[in-house]
């Protein structure tokens, strides 16, 4: 009898596992969502409005003006850093180089790194950093903008708002945020962990196969 119960429990557990994994390969949509009810052709339909990344204005390492419009039609990965960061930025960008190398020939995918220290990280400083990092072309942009705007923007990316401590060091977290063509957040990854970044690369490939991403609408 005991054996039978044991077997049943094991079977149930197995069933639960299978149920949870599911066959779908779509990525979740993160952030707040608002239901919107409207009338279309006499019928009432409820639609969901997802949280999106708001418009921003920045300059990249080449001195080109970059706004959210320049990312139209792109799936992109965003992070926040500063060039003189002594702690987690080097390890983040060592890992981000893997993302760069995986997609540098793919015009659909971009990487943007917002500097949270725009006072120091001028266009020249960002260009030098990019050269030393070994990145070229327009796959990976290092962006400088107004500090308050960038800090405010970080909240839309669901990352910790940067702070400055007494020693004028910037405190921030090391997340990589995956954003789709509709500017919705589709994944967050700890950029300091190589295995999370491997997952990010796989997730970008998955995301690219979604119908919404193929049409870009």
């Amino acid at each position: 009898m005991k054996k039978l119960i044991g077997g049943m429990v094991a079977l149930l557990a197995l069933g639960a596992c299978k149920f949870n994994t599911g066959p779908t390969a779509t990525l979740p949509v993160y952030g707040n969502r608002t239901p919107v009810t409207k009338t279309v052709g006499g019928k009432t339909v409820t639609d969901t409005i997802y949280q999106t990344i708001p418009a921003f204005k920045t300059v990249n390492q080449y001195g080109d003006s970059i706004t959210s419009k320049n990312l139209a039609g792109n799936i992109y990965v965003a992070d926040f850093f500063f060039t003189t960061c002594p702690s987690i930025c080097p390890v983040m960008h060592r890992n981000m180089l893997n993302v760069y190398n995986a997609f540098k020939a793919d015009k659909e995918v971009k990487i943007i790194s917002y500097s949270i220290d725009p006072k120091h990280d001028s266009v020249n400083v960002l260009k030098k950093y990019a050269d030393n990092l070994g990145i070229a072309g327009n796959t990976w942009w290092l962006l400088q903008g107004k500090k308050e705007e960038i800090y405010k923007l970080s909240e839309s990316y669901l990352v910790r708002k940067p702070e400055e401590d007494a020693r004028q060091l910037f405190i921030h977290d090391g997340y990589f945020i995956l954003v789709d063509k509709q500017k919705r957040i589709r994944g967050t990854y700890d950029g300091t962990l190589p295995e999370q970044v491997t997952k990010l690369i796989a997730d970008i490939k998955t995301l690219k196969t979604e119908p919404d991403q193929i049409t870009g609408k």
């Binding site: 002594p86 080097p90 390890v91 180089l97 950093y129």
Partner: protein
Amino acid sequence: MKLKIISAIGLLIAVLFFSCQTEDEITFARYYSTGSVVYQNKCQNCHGKDGQGLSALMPPLTDSVFLKANKALLPCIVKYGAKGKLMIINQHPFEGNMPPVDLAPIEIAEVLTYVTNSFGNKAGVVTAQQVEADLSKCN
């Protein structure tokens, strides 16, 4: 049965062998293992898990010739950083902008023992006394 006896004898020989380590070897092992923890906490983010550095931004720690030639300078670089210092490492120029790392002489000795005996380097133990002597000559 024979196998068991043979492996038991083998184990005995191994135990005898490892217990016959000299005091220097034990010091080295202690410095090296503590040094690896210091490295993980204080150095690895920039210099990498395998001392590979990061492109042309962060120098690798694999240049045994550089490490040997600058042996007496290494404690100073760790403790006081390397602001604006040009270093040629593995034939590539690096413009140093390393921040100072506040460590005790013993910790510097441990981490340098780890670094100079990892990543293809083999320079033996760096003692705390040596580090203190070197630190007194930093400029």
